[in-house]
């Protein structure tokens, strides 16, 4: 991270398979993701439009020890567990006002580990 950031924590009750229906992005902040209680899946899309395109969605498996920093403007879903509930951490400048989930275009995607 190359800027000031807030520290965040997310909880998910779902593991794979799950559906990606909505994604959010923030033009003003990079975002770091790291695993919490176990492996996590992070779905991202590099769509230069007002909604993520289903064809652009890529899902990555993060193992404990892995962390990623996504660039400003990259669409992302909340992380999911691989086999059930988990938690994860993120660093970001986002707040309640700055990001909204937007339905993805081109259909709902199923992510399976």
């Amino acid at each position: 991270m190359d800027q000031a950031a807030r520290i965040g924590m997310g909880f998910t009750r779902e593991g794979a398979p799950y559906t990606v229906e909505n994604m959010k992005r923030d033009a003003n902040t990079k975002k770091l993701f790291a695993c919490g209680a176990g492996p996590a899946i992070l779905a991202v899309a590099d769509t230069k439009a007002d909604a993520a395109q289903a064809g652009d969605v890529r899902a990555f498996l993060l193992e404990p020890g892995d962390f990623v920093v996504i660039n400003e403007g990259i669409w992302n879903d909340a992380c999911h567990g691989v086999s059930g509930a988990t938690h994860y951490f993120f660093l970001s400048l986002e707040d309640e006002e700055s990001t909204e989930y937007v339905p993805i275009k081109g259909g709902t995607l199923v992510v399976d580990a």
């Binding site: 991270m1 950031a5 520290i7 924590m9 997310g10 998910t12 660093l91 707040d95």
Partner: protein, 157 residues
Amino acid sequence: MVRPIKITEENFKAFGQYSNLQRENRLSGVKYEEYISAEKYVYQPMRFGMTICKNEKRFYVDSMERHLTTEEILICGDKPIVLSVADSNPYGEPQAEDILVFYMEPGDVVMLAKGIWHDACQAVEADAFYYFMAHGTGKGDEIKWHAIQPAPVAVEI
């Protein structure tokens, strides 16, 4: 012998800042719960690190380090850990009588103020990991471990 105590904003004030992310701002998620700190912790570029620690029901704090040029952020990772700190003179040596030990659970975040003596964390059970973030050179006295004076302190979980 020292026993760990539950960490609170009040009792950690002398060492820096404590917060629990689940008591901070909730982001509007549809199917998820996401919480984010109201405050920006990372004022300058920092490295992001991870420590895997083991549990010993009774262990000795025999040395500590402190950083004069950077705060250090500790984020409890997968399972509970204990953190040993001392508010002794940062230009002297860490003193046994100043040592306090705090429990941290997933969701707990602390920012150690510059100059606060601290040991590596220990797992409460089996093993656990935590993340840390710090800016600094990572050189010389900034990362030198100093022996506890006059003698190591036993911690019983």
